[in-house]
Symmetry: C2
Subunit: 207 residues, 2 copies
């Protein structure tokens, strides 16, 4: 279930769609810098330097530093939503779909931790319009997970007291992986994904 694209290098993932080449290099450099230091502590000179370009080159491809964050955040959220949507709409029981959704979502947060960190934790650095757009994508992520849990409850597979609260807790648990996961630590992304799928099935009272 884990693909090369998801875990290879962790980071050289979904940016293929960004063109031209120089714009992509700047974007990848920005992801790394934002993940390491945070958006506000990162300078445009640092981003350009990592991409092997002069500070002025950044403004040929992006209007502002914030536009870089916005682009990263949108692409990242679209990827996250795609992962959840694919898992949610597969054939199978609710338990199978929930376990698949959690394990692949967690693998993405662990393996692509650099990207996930920016996507999940730098949201407040966006302006109001950009943030509103991203929050809409988040609500769609929430809806996908909630739909699986509701299916499981309706089918008598799950035993849940508070569907809304449990959905939030499941997503929260997965997202926080991006905060603590360490590539040099004792677990692989696959292992954390498997552990978390088990924990989440317990949370929803899977029988």
């Amino acid at each position: 279930m884990s693909t090369a694209e998801e875990t290879a290098g962790g980071e050289a993932q979904a940016w293929g769609e960004v063109t031209p080449d120089a714009a992509r290099r700047l974007l990848v450099a920005a992801v790394e810098a934002f993940a390491e230091r945070g958006y506000h502590a990162t300078t445009t000179r640092d981003i350009a330097g990592r991409a092997g370009m002069s500070p002025a080159a950044l403004y040929i491809h992006y209007k502002t530093k914030e536009e870089l964050l916005h682009r990263i955040s949108r692409i990242g959220h679209e990827k996250a939503l795609e992962i959840l949507r694919t898992a949610a709409r597969r054939e199978g029981t609710a338990r199978e779909r929930l376990a698949g959704a959690v394990s692949s979502f967690v693998r993405w947060h662990a393996g692509g931790r650099t990207t996930a960190r920016v996507v999940q934790y730098e949201l407040d650095s966006l302006g109001p319009d950009a943030r509103a757009e991203i929050l809409a994508l988040r609500r769609q992520c929430d809806a996908e997970v909630r739909a699986i849990i509701e299916d499981g409850v309706a089918a008598g597979e799950f035993d849940v007291l508070d569907v809304k609260g449990t959905t939030l807790a499941v997503l929260s648990l997965c997202i926080d992986v991006a905060r603590w996961f360490n590539v040099d630590g004792p677990w692989t992304p696959d292992e954390v994904g498997a552990l978390y799928a088990d924990l989440v099935l317990r949370m929803v009272g899977d029988k």
Copy 2:
């Protein structure tokens, strides 16, 4: 189980120990500003302004802006550790102690969200020495929760596959409350605490 101190106003909590008055006002102002905008996006002029003082006044009580963050972080972590330690060392079964620890820890993160946000998410803005000191306090938090879970497993109360991983997941779940909890949202800190205690007991296979 919820005390006035934990939830009153959410924020006017443990800072009583900070003296003199002007130093405390600056510290409280810094907590609010860091929580709203993040450490790097907060200016010393903003902190001093919120405390009703001139920018220079800050440097009478604190050597640098980073010292403010360090002090906030240490006091906050000590409070968090105290909450877990108190719950862990109470009389009772492992299930009772774990439920108590989770519900009070979550209440602290939800009710004192402003403080908790700074404590949990601005760690990387500290220098190496200060960060090392804070990380030691975190490891103690981890040890308290793990001890309860190990007790429960030994007593046959819990059924856990991976004690270390589950401990991490439980703490991760509680900590992330500081990211998403909204005072104007549909839940009170008490309600989230109760929900999360139930979810965590499910995660550890409580019978």
